[in-house]
Symmetry: C2
Subunit: 141 residues, 2 copies
DNA sequence: GGCTAATACTTAGCATAGCTAATTTATAGT
DNA sequence: ACTATAAATTAGCTATGCTAAGTATTAGCC
């Protein structure tokens, strides 16, 4: 095994642990949202990627269509998302976030990001630059 | 609002998104573990931090004691962890990962890390250095 | 020593979230 | 038109989250 590979594995391990810790830190804010993690995550995709079919959303969320069907039930009951029949295929369902859904989601995300930003107050400008570049690199994964 | 704060919020946002993407990427490997995410996560804490009381594990995992009690039921049934009465307090329960539990967990984590490392093959040495330093910084959160 | 209060965990019962299998409705291929 | 395929839902199971209530033990106090 090359030393490049060894280094990649070590860094991957450290990033993996860091990602778990980071999300654990901000997850505490989600209790205020009033909906479960699956609904919150699905709504997030609808808000940031826009309207889509149920099967596409299920695929992005790494769950099976029956699971997503029930998650969407919850979102629709709470008026956070809408079901509409897809144009051109009456079997399919087009999902859209409502204005209320967008509002709830953006507020929740802002709470998470603020919590994280507060934790980062001790970092220097150079450290912030490193983190910023790292975040961009990880965006290419 | 100072521009330092604004920068922190932007970077926090980018890191938050990156962490979500990263864990979504590696989560696909967990299906092979044969146990659910809550059991896997609890077992991970037992393996990496060592034996502890149920209430402590519940606190670390950000769930209530009744929830952890049932998660531990599952681990014990599968012989991945053991319950023992705590020395000096017969109300309390001391939890330990079994050898089998350690093995299952380490195999699962290795799969995750390998998957992530493979995705990082395109990065240059400099980029790897940035990521490595960033992971260390995030460890201080 | 013996009440009382607090603590650690479990049990009971509910909602949410994951799955597979089977059903319903609509589209596509020949 | 007939058959096969596809999209979503329904049914029913397990797992995972909660609160409220119960059980057993320990701690505090006089």
């Amino acid at each position: 095994m090359s030393s490049d590979t060894s280094r990649r594995v070590k860094t991957a391990d450290a990033l993996h642990s860091a990602a778990i810790r980071l999300l654990r830190l901000v997850r505490t804010e989600d209790a205020q949202a009033g909906i479960g993690p699956a609904q919150l995550s699905a709504l997030s995709v609808l808000v940031f990627r826009g309207e889509m079919m149920l099967s596409e959303l299920a695929s992005l969320e790494q769950v099976r269509p029956p699971t997503m069907s029930r998650i969407v039930d919850g979102l629709v009951q709470r008026k956070l998302a809408q079901r509409a029949s897809a144009p051109g295929d009456r079997r399919a369902v087009k999902l859209t976030a409502t204005a209320e859904g967008r509002k709830l989601l953006l507020a929740g995300k802002a709470r998470r990001v603020r919590t994280l930003a507060k934790r980062m107050e001790g970092f220097t400008k150079d450290e912030m630059t490193t983190l910023q570049v790292a975040a961009e690199l990880l965006g290419e994964l």
